[in-house]
């Protein structure tokens, strides 16, 4: 009996393990002044050159931006841009000249930039059918495309607001009289072309709805080859966005003058948006963006400043580590 109670009590005794006794070995970092100063200095040391590097990279990018929506509106239509843009009879060709500020080496990317265009609006983002874009058998899957899903002739391919509002300004570039080739291949993501837009899906009934939206599509080309559409259908995050139009694979020398012949078809006048054409080179940091470099530099500077402050405080008013006089009971006594 006694033995049994003993085994019973033994079984109730908690097992020892470092985990159950909360004695796991642990790293207990302490923010000593040395650590504080070191960490801020390290951040400063890392951030400052990174910032400079980014700024330098951004500086090397050559960018030409030209806003043309206002200038391409003939003066006679300036009070009524809608009728200009919606009419089929107006001449929408517009010629702009751009000056290359610095040498731009190939590839030079051509972008169109829209402003105040809410590609991120929920109604807009939702109004598409990925199934239909992928698979010719799913052409009827237009439920999500409201209100652009189809008419008496059958479903619209590609359906939905996004495709329907396809950007359709066109650009032609001339150096003097000589046209510059625009490479419109490989402006879309490879995976989109391969998997999201079917190579056997052809546009059908497109832009044949009662309202005409943006550009039309070549019905003989499968969607996977309609790269402008693919780029357009990657909805942008912000109302101001830039999308790739094409590439120029020849260098442009400094001070060269480039002529851009624009077909000004896309209606941004009605909602007061801007249209810009942009030529830009890119390097590892992407396009021109000084914000990044400046931010790095600023934070590097702030950290440097903080580090100096801590050093000063440490020199002027050091608190010895583990100094018991900072314990609350000692401080309270001092107050009394």
């Amino acid at each position: 009996m006694d033995a049994s109670t003993r085994t019973k009590s033994r079984s109730k005794k908690p097992q020892y393990s470092r985990f159950t006794q909360q004695e796991l070995p642990a790293w207990k970092p302490i923010l000593t002044p040395k650590w504080i100063i070191t960490s801020f200095v390290i951040i400063a040391i890392l951030f400052t050159p990174t910032g400079l590097l980014c700024l330098w990279a951004s500086e090397r990018v050559v960018e030409i931006i030209d806003r043309y929506d206002d200038d391409c509106l003939p003066d006679s239509y300036s009070t009524d841009p809608d009728s200009f843009i919606q009419s089929n009879n107006t001449n929408k060709t517009c010629v702009r000249t751009l000056k290359v500020p610095r040498k731009m080496s190939a590839p030079i990317f051509i972008y169109y930039q829209l402003d105040n265009f809410y590609q991120n609006h929920r109604r807009y983002v939702k109004s598409r059918s990925d199934k239909q874009l992928r698979d010719p058998d799913e052409a009827d899957e237009t439920e999500d495309c409201k209100p652009i899903n189809g008419n008496d002739d059958g479903p619209i391919v590609p359906c939905g607001l996004v495709a329907w509002s396809l950007f359709n300004d066109t650009y032609k570039f001339f150096k003097g009289n000589k046209a510059i080739d625009i490479d419109k291949k490989d402006i879309a993501w490879e995976s989109d072309k391969k998997y999201k837009f079917g190579s056997n899906v052809y546009p059908k009934n497109f832009q044949k709805w009662e309202l005409i939206g943006g550009g039309a599509l070549d019905e003989s080309k499968p969607l996977s080859e309609q790269e402008d559409l693919i780029v357009w259908m990657k909805t942008a995050a912000l109302p101001t966005f830039r999308k790739l139009y094409g590439k120029i694979n020849t260098d442009l020398e400094a001070n060269e003058t480039i002529t851009v012949v624009i077909q000004n078809n896309y209606n941004t006048y009605v909602f007061g948006g801007e249209k810009k054409v942009a030529l830009s080179t890119a390097n590892w940091i992407g396009g021109k963006n000084d914000f990044f470099g400046i931010s790095f530099l600023t934070i590097g500077g702030v950290c440097f400043f903080v580090a100096i402050n801590f050093i000063l405080l440490y020199v002027l008013k050091p608190r010895p580590l583990g100094d018991p006089s900072y314990l609350s009971w000692n401080r309270n006594q001092g107050a009394q």
């Binding site: 908690p14 070995p25 942008a236 109302p239 999308k243």
Partner: protein, 1213 residues
């Protein structure tokens, strides 16, 4: 096998539904006969469920017991209802329902899956707990019992098949299947011994006696009892009730009526011991049994932190509603003003989202969408994470070897995990005395016989005083004293302490005059002889021979009695055997002579009750002399002395006063000689009263006992020491130094309470004792108003004396007794009383009833608004334990009832120190850090959605994939915060104990105050802002990589989400101080897992991933340097303010635990012992109780102002 279990389960649930919880219903005819007999319950023995000609037997409930909360059918509805009763869960339920509509900004899985996981987890936990209870029930219900069928044959049935009226046979060491009426036992006289440990936790055996005059044929153990085949009798008894110690009724058999009392009732869950077998009739079954009537579910309590957390949730709901309204108005305005011209949306066609002709309706619709979209502000997994963390924390408490009692083999047990962090915020401890502070083990220490005091060994109180004196002497010499030298002093003071003597449990008496039959040489040896005989005979104990050693031990009802019997044995009067009618004592009446056995036949035994405060036996000794031996409380006995029996009264009273001073419990012994005639007359009356039924039976018996117990002759008095539990004074000292207030609530009398107060250092010399007492005369005579007036004036004068105290260290102790407390607790006075009490260093309430204990706790809890902790071990503490914010049960000797009602159970009072100061402190900090962080991380995520909304014309579009949102709370960020909640430690256990002042961080709530909470919320707002702004600005509008492509919405979303994952994980890294491999793995693991998820999700076939992030990481973001740079930049920028904050705080405004961490890190505790000790002494709250305060007081008396090392002797031991 498994199938069998399921079958059982199903069947049992059916049972549950039909039979359980239905109160027994009685037929009307039965009710009519009840009226006549006075007892409502009629049981026909041996005819269970067989209809009689005249009346049908009343239907009683079955013997199936169920303690489960749910049944198979109501589990889902009830459990789900409880889940969705929480406001956050209800919100998420509605949100999940709405995801199936067009209002939802995301697909249904992103709301439904997390909700299902969270609720599923909670349900699983409930189910698991209930199944455990169910399996426990099943094992109980399926136990086997031998039930009489017919012709004396017995059949083995399961417990649940046992019916009221059945005759059941129970063998040795078996449990009783229901409440039984004892008919016959293997002993001829119908005695049986019962162990009631499961009921009241008392380990001593109880005697049960069968009805004596039933004249049943002798019982033989041959599984056949033919005399029961035609045993038809009727029991009329009381209805089921929860009172364990009462039972009244009659047994009608052969035309005779036999009265029944609790001595015949064998209770379910108690065990037959030392008796071969018994036969009994089932009286109460199933939920009617006393033990089931006594089960109460422990109340669900919520901690302060959780209540405050609810407020934060409401705050966040407020924020949610606010930003939703902002969104909705923004959307409504856009619909009215701008959207009209956005031709690419074809705005003129009204959709589910908006209608340009009705911008108000569109705005309101959008409000619903927005409320769902920003729902991430309220962390869905918060409750479930906290629950998981608390369960693990509770396991740490259960598994702590430092809380494990080697002696009893009982570990600590966190019975509810709700209150872990509350342990770190306790302000007032309200403690029971007996069994909690004291171990309820009595040591016979001194006695006074014939007015002459015997016993030289000092009590603990006297010893403590000697220690104090020694400490004082030592420190006045300026030398460092330690406990061993103190011991030496006390030992030399005492002279001849014999260590061996103390090895006898219950006997610490030391006096050569009485030991080893030396008493024969004493002048009053005849009185001494009588004294010893009374000790050996006047009791209700049972001797038990230990199988191992062959020694006799005694199973006594009270520990005092046990100590008396041990004492009597040591003096040579060994009680060896008890039969129903006699007591056999081996008496050694001459030196060097074999002891002689003497049999005293017991004629009547008048029990000890707390009301009577005395017990007597009337016996006939071998010479035929009738005697009455009586022992009881001194005042009671003194009142009953005959005029010629007061010879030693004066001397004895003086001795008793001395014993009281020394903290001893005293009883007086007396006797009286009886004439045959006198006894037989009295006995006849007494017997008649015994068998009478009706309500006045008790009164009648009481009166008759009183009549007999008069005209006594005083013999002497005993003094036993109520031993303090191990380490109690030290523990109280540490708790006091940690700033806790300790109240003692005891049912004991004032003198005893004060004695214990002294030995626990709750009281000390020089402390002014404010006794608030109303004299018994006043209570009896004066009107209630007068009494109250009197108490009020006492309280006021006491208060004045506190306010007018002159010296700064004057300490006051409030002592109040139960009767006075009744008035003081009334509404118009209680706050004055409380005000006085909180101004006193210690409060002792004596003679309080269990209900008053609960009332006092409630007063403190509600009056001060502070956290109270009730600790106790007995059934009388249950109310207090349930009422207090935290109830702690001592799983000690007195029983399980307190433990069953408690939130935590520990084996000894001294474990309270570690439970509060270590576990409480840790849990408090862990939970507060965890909750703050939880809110931070959700705000960080949810607000980025809000900013993005503003950029989309408040249309409700998200830039994150639905799956990111889904995984964020339940998977991506849950593990590190769980690890933090379970493993974080600011200070190691030793330091917590060494620097008790650290505990005050909890009661002062320094780590979960609004300042800190708002700070965290602000940090979340800042982080969300930085994350959003910087990412947007970095990725837009120009191309973000060398190949010239620009970022679309989901690329920016993924980049931003990556930043969030990094920011919140680095944040938790900065928050943690104690980084075990678990934390490091979860933190870095979460980040790695995030990349893996994006990668694998991107690789999945395009139809699954909705195409948004298909191939995103490898093709789009992976090769872009900006992606990585932006993550690094945002991560550092978001954590920079926090880093600067903690750096500054650490350098110039460190908190105590910071400094201690540094000390530990520099090993100052080893290298600079002197400073280390000095700081330990200083790291205390000012207190007027405890050993240290005692030493302080002494030092002050000696003119020293500072506490010196001397107190270390206690505080470091």
């Amino acid at each position: 096998m498994a199938k069998g279990i399921t079958a059982k389960l199903l069947r049992s649930s059916l049972y549950t539904l039909t039979n359980i919880r239905t109160k027994p219903s009685y037929k009307k005819e039965a009710a009519a006969t009840e009226e006549l007999s006075g007892y409502p319950r009629v049981i026909n023995i041996n005819q269970p469920a067989v209809p009689d000609d005249t009346q049908q037997p009343p239907i009683f409930c079955t013997n199936y017991v169920s303690t489960t909360k749910y049944t198979l059918f109501n589990f889902l509805p009830i459990a789900l209802f409880e889940q969705f009763n929480r406001v956050a869960n209800f919100y998420f339920l509605v949100a999940a329902g709405l995801t199936f509509t067009d209002y939802a900004p995301f697909d249904w899985p992103s709301q439904v899956v997390p909700l299902a996981l969270v609720v599923g987890f909670s349900l699983a936990k409930e189910l698991y707990e209930d199944l455990q209870r169910h399996w426990q029930d099943m094992t109980a219900n399926c136990q086997k019992a031998a039930v009489h069928v017919k012709n004396g044959g017995f059949e083995t049935k399961q417990w649940r098949e046992v019916c009221v009226g059945d005759i059941v046979k129970v063998k040795k060491d078996e449990f009783f299947p229901a409440d039984l009426l004892l008919l016959q036992s293997s002993y001829e006289d119908g005695m049986s011994y019962v162990e009631t440990m499961n009921l009241d936790g008392e380990t001593n055996l109880k005697v049960k006696r069968a009805l004596q005059n039933l004249s049943l044929p002798a019982a033989v153990d041959d599984d056949k009892a033919s005399h029961f085949s035609d045993f038809l009798a009727t029991i009329r008894c009381e209805n089921p009730n929860s009172n364990l110690y009462t039972f009244t009724g009659n047994l009608e058999y052969n035309g005779h009526i036999y009265p029944l009392d609790p001595a015949q009732l064998l209770l379910r869950d108690s065990k037959l011991r030392n008796t071969e077998f018994v036969y009994g009739v089932v009286v109460f079954t199933g939920n009617d049994t006393k033990v089931m009537q006594n089960t109460t579910q422990s109340p669900s309590k919520r901690s302060e932190i959780e209540l405050q957390m609810d407020k934060i949730i409401y705050l966040l709901f407020g924020l949610l509603i606010f930003i939703s309204i902002v969104s909705a108005s923004g959307f409504g305005l856009a619909v009215r003003n701008t959207i009209r011209s956005w031709w690419y949306l074809v705005p003129e066609i009204p959709g589910e989202d908006f209608d340009i002709n009705n911008f108000v309706a569109s705005g309101l619709r959008h409000l619903v969408t927005a409320l769902m979209l920003y729902g991430y502000l309220v962390p869905i997994s918060l409750y479930v994470s906290i629950e998981a963390v608390k369960i693990l924390q509770a396991r740490f408490i259960n598994n702590d070897l430092h809380l494990y009692d080697e002696v009893t083999g009982v570990p600590a047990n966190a019975r509810t995990s709700n209150l872990n962090e509350q342990l770190g915020q306790v302000d007032t401890i309200l403690s029971d005395k007996t069994g909690t502070l004291t171990c309820n083990q009595m040591d016979f220490l001194k006695c006074s016989i014939a007015g002459c005091p015997y016993g030289k060994r000092p009590s603990e109180v006297e010893l403590a005083a000697a220690k104090q004196m020694a400490a004082q002497d030592e420190s006045s010499d300026g030398s460092l004293s330690d406990s061993s030298s103190l011991e030496a002093i006390t030992v030399t003071d005492d002279g001849n302490i014999n260590k061996k003597a103390s090895s006898i449990k219950g006997f610490s008496f030391q006096d050569d005059r009485l030991e080893h039959t030396n008493w024969l040489k004493e002048p009053n040896s005849d009185v001494i002889l009588l004294f010893f005989r009374i000790l050996a005979v006047c009791h209700s104990a049972i001797p038990e021979i230990s199988e191992k050693t062959g020694e006799l031990t005694y199973e006594a009802e009270s520990p005092d009695e046990g100590a008396f019997l041990v004492a009597a044995r040591e003096f040579g009067f060994q009680f060896i055997k008890r039969t129903q009618n006699s007591v056999v004592v081996k008496e050694r009446l001459k030196k060097d002579q074999e002891p002689v056995e003497k049999e005293y036949s017991i004629l009547t035994l008048l029990d000890f009750t707390s009301k009577r405060k005395r017990m007597s036996v009337i016996l006939r000794d071998e010479s035929g002399q009738l005697l009455m031996f009586c022992k009881g409380a001194d005042t009671i006995i003194f009142d009953r002395l005959a005029s010629n029996g007061k010879t030693y009264l004066e001397a004895t009273t003086k001795n008793l006063n001395d014993y009281g001073e020394a903290g001893l419990r005293t009883l007086a012994l007396a006797y009286k000689k009886l004439e045959e005639k006198e006894y037989s007359d009295w006995h006849e009356k007494f017997h008649n009263a015994q068998i009478s039924s009706g309500s006045n039976r008790e009164e009648l018996l009481e009166e008759l006992s009183d009549e007999m117990e008069r005209g006594l002759t005083l013999v002497g008095a005993t003094a036993v020491e109520d031993k303090l539990q191990n380490g109690v004074p030290e523990c109280i000292d540490r708790l006091a130094l940690a700033g806790l207030k300790i109240w003692v609530l005891t049912g004991d009398k004032m003198e005893t309470a004060i004695n214990i107060g002294f030995s626990c250092s709750l009281l000390r010399q020089g402390m002014k004792q404010l006794c608030i007492v109303v004299s018994a005369e006043m209570l009896a005579e004066a009107a209630k108003d007068v009494v109250k007036e009197n108490i009020l004036s006492q309280i006021t004068t006491s208060m004045q004396s506190i306010q007018n105290k002159k010296e700064p260290h004057a300490a006051f102790a409030l002592i109040i007794d139960g009767k006075t407390l009744t008035y003081a607790l009334e509404d118009d006075m209680k706050f004055k009383f409380l005000n006085l009490a909180v101004n006193c260093a210690s409060v002792i309430c004596c003679r309080v009833s269990p209900k008053q204990k609960a009332l006092v706790v409630r007063l403190v809890k509600e009056g001060t608004g502070r956290t109270t902790l009730g600790i106790g071990d007995g059934a009388n503490d249950v109310g207090m334990i349930k009422e207090a914010d935290i109830g702690i049960g001592i799983s000690g000797v007195e029983g399980m009832q307190a433990v069953m009602a408690s939130d935590f159970s520990i084996a000894q009072f001294r474990f309270l120190e570690r439970l509060l100061i270590v576990h409480g402190h840790w849990c408090y900090k862990r939970i507060s850090k965890m909750i703050c962080y939880f809110f931070y991380k959700n705000i960080t995520l949810a607000l980025t959605l809000f900013y993005f909304e503003a950029e989309t014309g408040f249309s409700g579009q998200m830039h994150y994939d639905d799956w990111y949102m889904l995984l964020y709370n339940v998977f991506l960020t849950s593990c590190p915060v769980l690890a933090l909640g379970v493993l974080e430690k600011d200070i190691c256990a030793e330091f917590c104990l060494q620097f008790p002042a650290l505990y005050q961080q909890g009661p002062k709530n320094l780590f979960f105050d609004w300042y800190r909470i708002i700070g965290w919320l602000a940090n979340g707002v800042y982080a969300s802002f930085v994350i959003y702004l910087v990412n947007i600005r970095i990725f837009s509008p120009e191309s973000f990589r060398k190949e010239g492509q620009t970022a679309d919405m989901y690329v920016i979303g993924t980049a931003m989400f990556t930043s969030i994952i990094w920011v919140v994980n680095v944040q938790i890294f900065l928050v943690s101080h104690y980084l075990t491999s678990v934390q490091l793995h979860t933190i870095w693991g979460s980040i790695v897992v995030w990349y893996l998820i994006v990668y694998i999700y991107g690789l999945m076939p395009v139809q699954w991933s909705a195409g948004n992030i298909y191939q995103q990481l490898p093709e789009v973001l992976g090769p872009a340097y900006k992606f990585y740079l932006s993550t690094v930049f945002v991560t550092i920028l978001c954590n920079l303010p926090y880093l600067i904050h903690i750096s500054y705080q650490r350098c110039y405004n460190p908190e105590d635990h910071h400094v201690l961490q540094e000390m530990k890190n520099m090993k100052k505790d080893v290298t600079d012992r002197k400073m280390w000790k000095r700081e330990q002494v200083k790291a205390t709250q000012e207190t007027e109780i405890g050993l240290s305060a005692r030493v302080d007081a002494r030092m002050r008396m000696k003119g020293k102002t500072t506490r010196k090392y001397s107190s270390l002797a206690y505080s470091s031991s």
